[in-house]
Amino acid sequence: MARNQNLIVNLMLVVVSAFILYSAFQIELKGSAFISSPKILPVLLSATMLCLSLVNLYIERNKDVRITIDSMLFFFGFLVIVLLYVGLMKFINFHVLTFLYLFGSFLYFRAGSIFRCLLVAAIFSVSVYLIFEKAFRIIFPA
C-alpha cells in the first residue's frame, strides 16, 4: 500500500466534499426562494464539509495511518468471490449458487475438512431455502 494513506483519505474527503458542493449547486430551485429551496441544505452542508475537510487536511498533514490487512490477496480474493456470487444471482438458481458460494468460501478460508465444509454449506443452504423461500415467501432472482 502507498505510504501516507491518511493523507490520501483526507484528500479524498476534500474531493468528495467539493464534488457534493458542485452537485448541490446543480439542484433546481423549482420556483422556491433559495433560502427555503431544496438546494439550500445540500449547499450549506457541503460547503461546510469542504471547509472542514480542508482544515482537517492541514491539521493531519503529518499524521500517518496505515491499513493493516494480514493478507491483501486473501482479503481481495474474498471480495471477488462475493462479487461473483452476487453477479451470477440472476443466472443461476439462488439456492444452488448459495451452496456453491458457501462451500467455496469455507474451502477458501480453510474452515474445516472438505466433508465438514460440504455438510455445513448444505445445511445452511437448505435452512435458507426453508426459512426465506418457504416461511418468508421471498422470491429470489433465479
Binding site: Q5, V9, V16, S17, I20, S23, A24, I27, E28, L29, K30, G31, S32, I35, S36, S37, P38, K39, I40, L41, P42, L45, S46, T48, M49, L52, S53, V55, N56, I59, E60, V65, I67, T68, I69, D70, F74, F75, F78, V82, L83, V86, M89, Y101, L102, S105, F106, F109, R110, A111, G112, V120, F124, V128, F132, F136, I138, I139, F140, P141
Partner: protein, 506 residues
Amino acid sequence: MDNLANFLMPVTNLNLLLLVAIGVFAGIYVGAIPGLSVAMATALLLSLTYTWDTLDALALIVGVYVGGVYGGARAAVLLNIPGAPAAIATTFDGYPMALRGEAGLAIGLATVVSVIGGLIGAFFLTFATPLISKIAVDFSHIDFFLLAMLGLMLVGTLSKGSFLKAVIVAFLGINFGLVGLDGITGAHRFTFGSLELMKGINIIVAILGLFGFAEVLVQLSQSKHFKVIKQVGKLLPSMKQIIRLLPLTMRTSMIGVIVGALPGVGGEIAALLGYDHAKRTTKKPSRPFGEGAYEGVVGPESANNAAVGGALIPMLTLGIPGDAVTAIIIGAFVIHGLNPGPTLMIQSPEYFYVIAGSLFLANIFLLGFGLIGIGIFKRIVMVSKGFILPVITVLTIIGAYTINNNVDDIFWMLGFGVLGYLLRVFNIPVGPLVLGIVLGPLVDKSFRGAMIAANNDVPTLLLEILTQPISLILTIFLIVSILSNTNLYRNTKARIAAALKGGKSG
C-alpha cells in the same frame, strides 16, 4: 384502560410473548459473538420482518436489542473481547474475575444487574415518554432542526477519533439521506439522471452495509483467534452480594437512562460512564479495580442495559434515535407507515405501550436466558471465522435483496460495506454517518419549514430562536457541544484547572 391492556399485550398475547422470548435468546448469542453486532442483527431483522404485523416485528426487535446489549458481557468475561461495544468496560474487571476462576460469578452478576438496569430503563421509558411527548408537541420546526443537529454533534463529540471527521461524515450522511426526489417541490437531488437514485438511498441497505458487511471485512483483515476461559465456576451471586451492590446498581442504572436518552449516544458511553462512576464512588471495592472487582462489572452492565430504555425515549417522543439500533427501529416504524415523534403518542399510542411492555418482559426473560447456555456459548464462539464470515455475508445479502426484491440493492449494500470498512480502519466514526442518513429528511424538512414560517427572512428566524425558550436552550447546548471540541475550550479549561490548583496550593 386501553393503555394498560396494550402495555400487558406482550404477556397476554402468546405470539408477542414468544417473539420477545426468541428475540432475547437470539440476541444474547448475537451480542456475545464478537463480529456480530446488535445493530447488524436488528437491520437484518428489519429487512426480514417488514411484511409482518408491526407489533410482532417490534416485539422481536426489542427482544434482540435487550438480549444483544447484555450478550456482549459473555465474550467480555470469557474471551476478554467485548461481544458488543457496550461491553468494552466489562472486560476491565470481568476478564480478571474469569482469570481468578470466577467467570460464572461475573456472568451471573452481569445478568442480575443487567436485569435491574433494564427494568429501571423500562420504568423511565414508560413514565417519562408520555410526559416528554406532551412537551414535544409544542416543538416548532426550528426546534426539531436544532435537536437533530445537536444529536449529530453529540455523536461526533462522544465517538472515538477526530471530531472534524465525525462532523464531515455526519453531513455526508445528511446528503445521502437527501438523495432522490424532494418531497415538497419534486426537484431532483443528487440523482445524476439515474432512475434508481430517484427513489433515494434505502436506509436499511445502507445500515446493512455499514454495520454488517463492513464488520465482515474488518474481521477478514485481522487473523485473530479467540481463546476461551475453560473454568466457569459458580454462577449465581449470593443475596448478600446483590444487596451490597444494589445502591451502586441503582446509581449506574440512572446514569445509563440519562446517557441513553441523549440523542445519538448509546450503551457504549453509558457503560464507560457507569464504570467510571463505580470506580470513583466505591471506597472499599471487593478487589482493586482492574483486578476483578465486582463493582467493575456492576457499573457498566447495569448502565448499558438501562440505556436501552433511555435510548427509546428520544426516538419515540421526538423521532430522533438514541443510538444506532434505535435509528434502525425508526426505519421499522417508517416502513410500517408510522411516524415516530410527538404525534405517535396521540395517533397510535398502542405501539408505545407494546414497546414498553415488551421491554419489561424482555428483561424478565433475560434473567432466565442469561444464566443458561454458557456451555453452548463456549462452543459457538469457538466456531472458526471461516464458517461465520461467509454465512454473515449471505445473511446481509439476503437482507439487502428482500427489501425491494432487487439485486441492485445488494451492490449498494456492498458499496456501503466497503465505505464502512474504510471509515473504521481510518478511525472515522460510522455512527454519525448512519444518524445523518436517518435524520437527513427531518433536518431538511424542519430547516425549510422554519425558513418558510419566518417568511424566508433570516433575521426573523434568528429572533425567533432567541425569544423562544426551547429554541434558545437547544441553541446553547448546540454551541457548547461544538465549542467543547475546540482547542480554545480545552486550553481555557486547562488554564482554569491550573489556576484553581495554584490557588489551593497557595
